[in-house]
């Protein structure tokens, strides 16, 4: 497999994602408006914003599910706008995607779900763990261990809790040997504790594998606690783009203002007991990106 950015020391040369003046219109509605940013290898980027602010649209533009109305998108050195369908498919094999609803095949075991992440590299249909090679099975088990679920390898995926399912989904995308991980509100339907675990896993693989992660969130605290950098979107426009190191919670909350009036984020109010015990859960490793 070619690794277009592998030779580059991170952050110094060709970025993993390069977005310039990106605009996406649906009819006469502008979902994304002149967004530009570069993302160096190994960075954990959180995209925050209200519902409808364009987070999903941005992620979908990055793996070629949408074509931009204007602007340029380059992912892993591939010009997503002008690439042929074949190149896009090849690109998708290298880009992991994590869904809010996990999207596991419920009746298959965790192991087989993880194995299915390798389908893009395999020929022909597969059904049953034994239809995958022993090497792949070993790798799948390692990935399950990595997300802390090796002991549930042969349990049916739909018997797992939401947080566990999301971790299996992450293991599945690791099976792709991805260069970039896109996660669209991966913890939006999880309880605080499971959310913490999932974010931990994402953060850990970002650092250990030196993997680039873009994660859309609507919890301010999650972004502050786990990401290296935050981009805030409001009505499709970038209203914030800062490393988490020099960012304070009130600054981040500004993203949720509409016409100068603060709007409650979709997450519970900060004065409610929803801090998720985040401070205790995880050290905020902001120093890592400096």
């Amino acid at each position: 497999m070619t690794r277009p950015t592998a030779a580059q020391p991170d952050g110094t040369a060709v970025p993993v994602v390069r977005v310039a003046h990106l605009t996406k219109r649906f009819g006469d509605h502008t979902a994304l408006d002149d967004v530009s940013f570069d993302l160096p290898r190994g960075q954990f980027l959180a995209v925050i914003g209200l519902s409808g602010s364009g987070k999903s649209t941005l992620l979908r533009l990055l793996n070629g599910l949408h074509t931009p109305s204007d602007g340029a998108v380059e992912v892993l050195g591939v010009d997503v706008v002008h690439a042929r369908a074949r190149a896009i498919r090849h690109l998708r094999c290298q880009v992991g995607f994590i869904f809010q609803q996990f999207n596991l095949v419920g009746r298959l075991s965790c192991m087989e779900n993880v194995l299915s992440g390798a389908l893009g590299r395999l020929r022909g249909p597969r059904l049953g763990v034994s239809t995958y090679s022993k090497t792949l099975r070993q790798t799948a088990l390692d990935h399950l261990d990595r997300v802390g679920l090796g002991h549930k390898a042969f349990q049916r995926a739909d018997t797992l809790s939401g947080g566990e399912q999301q971790r299996v989904a992450i293991a599945r995308s690791l099976m792709q040997q991805p260069q970039l991980l896109l996660a669209d509100e991966p913890v939006a339907s999880l309880d605080p504790e499971s959310s913490g675990q999932v974010m931990d896993v994402l953060r850990r693989i970002c650092v250990e594998e030196h993997l680039t992660v873009i994660c859309s969130l609507h919890q301010v605290d999650m972004a502050l606690g786990w990401a290296h950098r935050v981009i805030g979107l409001r009505a499709g426009r970038t209203v914030l783009d800062r490393p988490t190191g020099d960012l304070t919670r009130p600054q981040l909350m500004q993203v949720y203002q509409r016409d100068g009036v603060p709007v409650a984020p979709e997450t519970p109010q900060p004065d409610e007991p929803d801090d998720h015990g985040l401070a205790a859960l995880s050290p905020t490793p902001q120093q890592l990106i400096q």
Partner: protein, 574 residues
């Protein structure tokens, strides 16, 4: 700028996700890479082995010999050649029988509705006055559906004479058994809270049922009845085979007298008839469902109904005439009108109906006691043949339906053209009653169970593939989207993302097909396609009703046992 190394990172991030220490390297190698042998897995494999064994034994019994298959298809080609060019019958000669067929279906369904309404409330656990009453009502419903409608028609024609009345009664009784069961099941699923809430205000039992249960089951009752109506059109189209009126009589005569070109013309008319009624009934059912859905949504969001009338100063004491209410009233009135017109058009007066009942009851005496002795040697092999036909036909139908279902499921189909072609195959298969197919295949393959297997197998695609395709379409698209995002091909997405998810529903569908082919396989013998139907036909024809009674008991027990068996497994897996 420094990059954090992995080793520096690990202790820092060892949090909840790593709660269970992960065994490293060498240790993992020793762990199982295959799924463990759980009880479910063993039971599943044993069941699959049993099914394969049943199919192998059955195909041997039926004698599916490759040479015969090849010869048969050649004959079928010849037969089709002789059917062309198709000769459409003169309208003046078929309009009458077509109308009769439709009116028989409507009248029979209407009678069945009248009979099953009280029966189902007596048969449902939550509305039955006592367990004893419930048991009796359930037994009546069960008994009614365990004899195929064509067998009822065969007997009623003997007792009441040739004509449409025996046909209507046959449809009515069989349908009572079919919709009575579905009605009773729907009542038992009603939210008991409402029922109890009404009861706590001091309402009588009947009041509680009328207010607390009826409104909740009404939509399901209507769609069950509509579904039965379109099945009954297909059923009525062949009742003429045994002299119970309608277009089946014409078809039977033309095919028997080897007028194949006219036969094809009539068959096409029957297909068109069934398909048109099915489309109408499906459209009405879909609109009821949609209406129910939107009503529920409105209730949830507490938004006012769009068709709410403007508020007037004076409070009203009767419900306002909204569009929905008007539509409902018109629908009820036209359904009732249609039923009345059908009875009138068929020349069946209430008097004739009432006179038929004592005649039928009196005739029961001529059937008793059942005489097993005269058919002792034939009955065993005949019922075995019936079972093997059903098993083989189910296997054939499933094998053919699997690929068709995937092509006929919108999200999985490779191309819209393929999708529509596959849906057309399904519609055609549904439109051809099994008995018509059996008659055609007997001409091609000769008398015997082989023709029965092919006829029922092809005739069941309509049911089997449709249920399977619908199951695929109703699947959560999420897993498929995820597999697409890892770069899986279409075929890989279907194998890994769809097959495991629909497997239980496919097994249930196959059992449902078995349930349906076992009923049909008891009647294809009437046209010489093997099984117990031939003995039934012979005994009725030669007026040996004591023998008929014995055969009916055997059919009853067989259908009953197969239905229980398939119900039991279905409940288990779903």
């Amino acid at each position: 700028m420094t990059t954090p190394t992995n080793s520096a990172e690990r202790p820092d991030l060892a949090t909840t996700a790593q709660a269970e220490p992960t065994p490293a390297g060498a240790a993992t190698d020793k762990r199982a890479l295959r799924p463990p042998w759980t009880r479910n897995r063993i039971v599943g494999l044993a069941a699959a082995a049993g099914a394969v064994l049943a199919i192998v034994v059955s195909t041997r019994q039926v004698g599916v010999d490759p040479q015969r298959l090849i010869d048969g298809w050649a004959d079928l080609g010849n037969l089709l050649g002789r059917m062309l060019p198709v000769e459409m019958p003169q309208p003046s000669r078929v309009v009458g029988p077509i109308l009769d067929t439709l009116m028989m279906a409507v009248a029979g369904t209407a009678l069945a509705l009248l009979l099953s309404l009280p029966l189902s409330f007596l048969a449902a656990a939550n509305t039955a006055p006592s367990p004893a009453v419930r048991a009796v009502a359930r037994a009546i419903i069960l008994g009614a559906r365990s004899i195929p409608d064509l067998v009822y028609a065969l007997i009623f024609v003997r007792v009441l004479g040739v004509g449409v009345l025996p046909g209507v009664l046959a449809v009515a009784i069989y349908s009572t058994g079919m919709i009575g069961k579905l009605f009773a099941d729907a009542i038992e699923e009603v939210d008991d809270d409402v029922h109890h809430a009404v009861a706590t205000v001091g309402a009588t039992r009947l009041q509680a049922i009328m207010t607390g249960v009826v409104p909740q089951v009404l939509p399901s009752f209507v769609s069950t009845t509509l579904y039965r109506l379109d099945m009954n059109v297909a059923a009525s189209a062949v009742l003429g085979f045994v002299g119970a009126g309608g277009i089946g009589f014409e078809l039977y005569n033309t095919l028997r007298t080897l007028q194949y070109q006219r036969g094809l013309g009539l068959a096409l008319i029957i297909i068109a008839l069934v398909v048109i009624v099915e489309r109408i009934s499906a459209a009405i059912r879909a609109s009821i469902l949609a209406h129910e859905h939107s009503a529920r949504e409105r209730r949830r969001s507490r938004r006012p109904a769009r068709d709410r009338p403007p508020a007037t100063g004076r409070p009203r004491l009767s419900p306002p005439w909204t569009r929905a209410r008007l539509t409902r009233q018109i629908a009820v009135l036209s359904a009732a009108g249609l039923a009345l017109v059908s009875f009138a058009g068929l020349g069946i007066s209430p008097g004739a109906l009432l006179r038929a009942i004592p005649e039928l009851v009196a005739s029961i005496g001529t059937f008793l006691p059942p005489d097993f002795a005269s058919v002792r040697d034939d009955l065993g092999p005949a019922i075995v043949e019936t079972l093997t036909i059903a098993v083989c036909a189910t296997a054939l139908a499933t094998a053919l339906s699997l690929p068709i279902a995937f092509l006929a499921a919108r999200p999985v189909a490779p191309h819209p053209v393929v999708y529509h072609a596959a849906r057309l195959v399904i519609v055609l298969s549904r439109g051809l009653p099994p008995l018509v197919l059996a008659l055609i295949f007997v001409s091609a393959f000769g008398l015997g169970p082989f023709a029965g297997v092919i006829a029922l197998g092809l005739g069941s695609i309509g049911l089997t593939a449709k249920l399977m395709a619908d199951a695929i379409e109703h699947l959560d698209p999420g897993p498929r989207a995820a597999l697409r995002s890892v770069g899986a091909t279409r075929v890989q997405q279907a194998t890994t993302g769809v097959v495991p998810q629909v497997a239980p529903s496919f097994v249930a569908t196959t059992l449902f097909t078995l349930d349906s082919t076992i009923r049909s396989s008891t009647i294809v013998g009437i046209v010489g396609a093997g099984g117990i139907g031939f003995i039934t036909y012979q005994s009725v024809h030669t007026l040996q009703f004591h023998t008929t009674a014995a055969v009916l008991i055997v059919i009853f027990v067989t259908v009953f046992v197969v239905e229980r068996f398939s119900d039991m497994i279905r409940k288990r897996i779903l």
